[in-house]
């Protein structure tokens, strides 16, 4: 797949070795396959009667600024998209043949055109509510983003956090119970954080103090939390649902002006307290990780714990408290299930999203902002499936259900490239 094409002469006095451009056909081949697939789907599996149109609804009825619906002729639009895709794929082949790297923007543009074409094709003769697509994306991404933030913090400190799923579930459970009893969702949020921290304590104690393999502890914790919450759900919550499992949900808060931004406003600024709290959390974690003493020390124990030790940093203490902090953040995400969206706890209601959050951590290269974007991508894939099944898309629903996971696998396996985890991630520090 790779051939050597040229050797660059070393520049004088610079320590780096001459580097060699390896021609990588990976991107070009992937784009070509998708382009061919697009041709086949858009033209071969042509949808709708001749002259059918696809409608994109750009505003909701309660919006102040009303944008007209976008009505596209289905076949003509998909045809244009397919031609564009083929052209971009051909261009990427040409770029690779000249031993240059396929630029990222080309891949992104390819993905956008493919998505536009696909939506137009799928919506032949019906209407896609674009603001709704984005609202759902954000909603479905919230637990993923909290989970990914917790994962980033924990792994940057050098502890692999497979227990995100368990922390989400513990957060969901305890927030439901506490919010129901007290009648106060804010107390439920606090309870969720505490539950996440408790799961973290176990993870931290076993992996840092007793040096048990971190992945194994994480997996075991997930199973443990599923078992515990399911048990309490069926024994306590179900019989006493009125007392223990009817939490007040957070009310939706519309931010003036911002919520009226066309298309994106409803998605971002007509949300609940937890979502706004999440925006703050993403910003604070990013700033903290890269611009504060806390972040510098946190990253140092995850990269080279011995070096941190030799400058007087308590490695295992730093790891312990940051894994705990990570648990609290993931716990907030768990509260979103019960206090933000569903309104009651249910058995295994996190449904493996913790693992998708873990994938977002890796896809996001252990960076809070990139991990957030990755989580949004996964959220979009999930919601696309919802929307398309509602409008009655021609794609079998089983395929659509697979979509988020297919995106996850492709994202983590194929597109990550050379992302580098923290050097001491998963390795216990023994003096």
């Amino acid at each position: 797949m790779s051939t050597i094409t040229q050797a660059v002469q070393p520049s004088q006095g610079h320590p780096a070795l001459p580097s060699v451009v390896l021609r990588s056909w990976k991107a070009a081949i992937a784009l070509s396959i998708f382009a061919v697939a697009a041709l086949f789907i858009f033209i071969g599996l042509r949808q709708g009667a001749p002259g059918a149109v696809s409608t994109f609804q750009l505003s909701q009825s309660r919006d102040i600024i009303q944008l007209p619906d976008l009505v596209l002729p289905t076949f003509a639009t998909t045809l244009v998209c397919a031609i564009l895709l083929v052209a971009m794929a051909a261009w990427s082949v040409w770029i690779t043949a000249r031993s240059a790297r396929v630029p990222l923007w080309l891949i992104v543009a390819f993905a956008v055109v493919f998505m536009v074409g696909f939506l137009t094709w799928a919506a032949a003769g019906s209407t896609i509510p674009v603001p709704g697509l984005f609202v759902g994306t954000v909603t479905l991404s919230v637990p993923l983003i909290f989970g990914a933030l917790g994962g980033v913090i924990s792994e940057r400190a050098g502890v692999v956090n497979v227990a995100i799923e368990g922390q989400l579930l513990a957060g969901a459970f305890s927030s439901a119970v506490v919010a129901s009893i007290t009648g106060n969702p804010y107390l439920g949020l606090v309870a969720a954080a505490i539950a996440g921290v408790l799961v973290s304590f176990v993870l931290a104690a076993f992996s840092i103090k007793y040096l048990v393999d971190q992945v194994i502890v994480g997996v075991v914790l997930n199973v443990l939390v599923i078992g515990l919450t399911s048990f309490f759900f069926s024994q306590l919550l179900s019989p006493n649902a009125a007392l223990l499992n009817t939490p007040d949900r957070f009310p939706r808060i519309n931010i003036p002006l911002l919520s009226e931004i066309p298309i994106l406003g409803p998605a971002l600024f007509r949300q609940t307290f937890i979502v706004y709290f999440m925006y703050v959390a993403v910003a604070v974690v990013y700033f903290g990780l890269f611009h504060t003493k806390w972040g510098l020390r946190l990253r140092s124990v995850g990269e080279h714990p011995k070096a941190a030790d030799t400058v007087g940093i308590n490695v295992n203490g730093t790891r312990f408290w940051n894994v705990s902090l990570a648990g609290a953040i993931v716990g907030f995400g768990g509260a979103f299930f019960t206090l933000g969206s569903v309104g009651a706890f249910n058995k295994e209601m996190t449904a493996g999203l913790g693992f998708i959050a873990l994938a977002a951590v890796i896809f996001g290269q252990w960076d809070p902002l990139k991990a957030t974007l990755a989580a949004l991508l996964f959220g979009f894939a999930s919601n696309l499936q919802n929307v398309l099944s509602i409008i009655g898309s021609p794609v079998p629903s089983e395929f659509m259900l697979m979509l988020p996971y297919v995106v996850t696998i492709f994202a983590v396996a194929g597109l990550v490239g050379r992302s580098r985890p923290p050097a001491a991630d998963g390795k216990p520090y023994i003096k």
Binding site: P10, P15, S19, L22, R299, S300, A308
Partner: protein, 506 residues
């Protein structure tokens, strides 16, 4: 600052690493701590630096007893350390590394990188280092990284500075520069503890020398003592420092390497189109500072690198692109760089390790079954022949000392019918006695008419073993010179300067 260690004792289980060690370092003195690998020098310094807690004894600074619960306390008391394996975080910048652990912050806890940059520049200017505070550590050459370590220690007002084997990774020229820096520090009143096992350096820079053997102070020496005196003090018996070898009986060209290039996973040309040949009955030493492509070159010869171009021929047969198994079957013996990682399976017995690369057929395996009896006889014979000090052939390889482990590896490789021996860093971390043994076996192999390639970073070993020397620098061969080439020329070649009149290779 005057540093005194009184009766420091440190044990790890049954092993006594430090046994009542006394050491006094006066203010403004360079005090060398000399000892073999495993003598307990680094343990002692880790006790001083608060990384280990001593089981007995006390540490005094200017006559005041100190209690160090961790490195933070030691640093606050004015002790700094330049570690053998640099304690720098590769993905951080110089300034971030220097500030780590005592960060200054601005509003909202924001790191004050400006102050750290200023400090780096200030110290760097004082010693003429010329270091960019915003450079990432991983982009800097090791010599510069070491200077960052020094800056790190000085930024905390260290007045006692410990250098733990600082010259292991340096070129001879960089070593000279380091010596100058140490003298400069000394003039500024800093006390320096210089840990090393290299005699020449000690005599050059030290004011006083304390020798440690097996965890005990065995004597003091003055820098005017001869190498032989120091070595026998260090080892505890008279040692042969030079390798005895006769004139080589050269045969024809056995191994021919042409235009060999290796590209690593980071797409860097780590071996840059090298060509050389080795004659039968000759030792070719590949010299150079660690990390200049020697490892990758050897791995390419052994079929361990995925992206290799060029030609490798052994007695006219191409080895390029063959599997490791086929290369071993072609008669290539390989002593890897890291014996615990690549040379042995620590959890296997000595006997099993002796047949590790011969598990494919007779005489050790017949009809898919291990021939235990044959293996036992074979192992007992090799244990005697190579003087492997082990409780028995069923002892685990991991329990042997470094020297004996290396003997197991050598015994395994040399007991095959070799057409070529490749030994990388064959004496790294070994005691002087084992070094003598390994050197003798290598020369004996050469005298049996087998071509030998040795990779070494130790100039003493290079000069001692070589019939010819190929010096590598940044992936290329700077030149191939006779074994009698003076050290100063080799030192220059290690920094990339071609030797005058050297045979130019590709």
């Amino acid at each position: 600052m005057k540093l005194e260690l009184r009766g420091i004792t440190k044990t790890f289980g049954a092993l006594v690493a430090n046994d009542h060690i006394d050491l006094t370092v006066e203010a403004g003195e360079i005090h060398a701590l000399l000892g073999e690998n495993g003598a307990g020098k680094s343990t002692l310094m880790n006790v001083l630096y608060g990384l280990y807690q001593a089981d007995g004894g006390e540490i005094l600074l200017d006559g005041v007893v100190q209690k160090f619960a961790g490195p933070g306390d030691a640093m606050n008391a004015g002790i700094g350390m330049v570690h053998q394996h640099f304690m720098l975080i590769p993905v951080f910048t110089v300034a971030e590394n220097v500030m780590l652990g005592h960060e200054e912050t601005n509003f909202a806890g924001r790191l004050n990188l400006g102050a750290a940059r200023k400090k780096v520049r200030e110290i760097s200017d004082r010693f003429g280092f010329d270091i960019d505070p915003d450079a990432l550590i991983e982009d800097l050459p090791v010599g510069v990284q070491q200077r960052v370590e020094i800056i790190k220690a000085l930024s905390r007002e260290a007045r006692v500075l410990v250098f733990d084997e600082p010259t292991a990774v340096l070129t001879p020229q960089e070593t000279d520069e380091l010596m100058a820096i140490m003298r400069q520090l000394k003039e500024a009143g800093t006390s320096i503890v210089f840990i090393t096992h290299k005699l020449r350096e000690v005599r050059e820079v030290a004011d006083r020398i304390t020798v440690i053997r097996r965890g005990k102070v065995v004597g003091e020496a003055s820098p005017t003592a001869t190498n032989t005196e120091l070595a026998s003090l260090m080892v505890g018996r008279a040692v042969e420092l030079t390798v005895h070898k006769g004139e080589p009986k050269l045969g024809g060209e056995a191994l021919v390497v042409r235009d060999l290039a290796v590209i690593d996973a980071r797409h860097q040309l780590v071996v840059n189109h090298v060509s050389f040949e080795v004659k039968a009955g000759e030792v070719l030493v590949i010299a150079g500072v660690q990390g200049n492509g020697q490892t990758e070159l050897i791995e390419a010869l052994m079929g361990l690198q995925p992206r290799v171009t060029g030609a490798i021929e052994l007695n006219g047969v191409s080895l390029h692109g063959l599997s490791v198994r086929k290369i071993l079957d072609a008669g290539v013996g390989f002593v890897p760089e890291d014996r615990t990682e690549d040379g042995l399976v620590a959890a296997f017995t000595v006997a099993e390790n002796l047949m590790l690369d011969r598990s494919t057929g007779a005489p050790f395996v017949k009809a898919g079954t291990l021939q235990r009896g044959y293996l036992a006889d074979f192992a007992r014979e090799k244990v005697t022949e190579f003087d492997i000090r082990t409780q028995g052939i069923d002892s685990l390889a991991g329990q042997l000392s470094g020297g004996n482990q290396q003997k197991v590896v050598l015994a395994r490789e040399l007991s095959r019918d070799l057409k070529l021996l490749v030994a990388t860093q064959p004496t790294r971390g070994l005691d002087v006695g084992s070094i003598e043994f390994v050197h003798k076996r290598i020369i004996a192999t050469r005298d049996a008419g087998i071509p030998v390639i040795v990779v070494s970073t130790e100039l003493d070993e290079v000069v001692g073993l070589a019939d010819r020397i190929a010096v590598m620098y940044r992936g290329g061969i700077v030149g191939i010179v006779p074994g009698t080439t003076p050290r100063s020329v080799l030192g220059l070649m290690m920094t990339g300067e071609p030797a005058p009149g050297a045979e130019v290779a590709a």
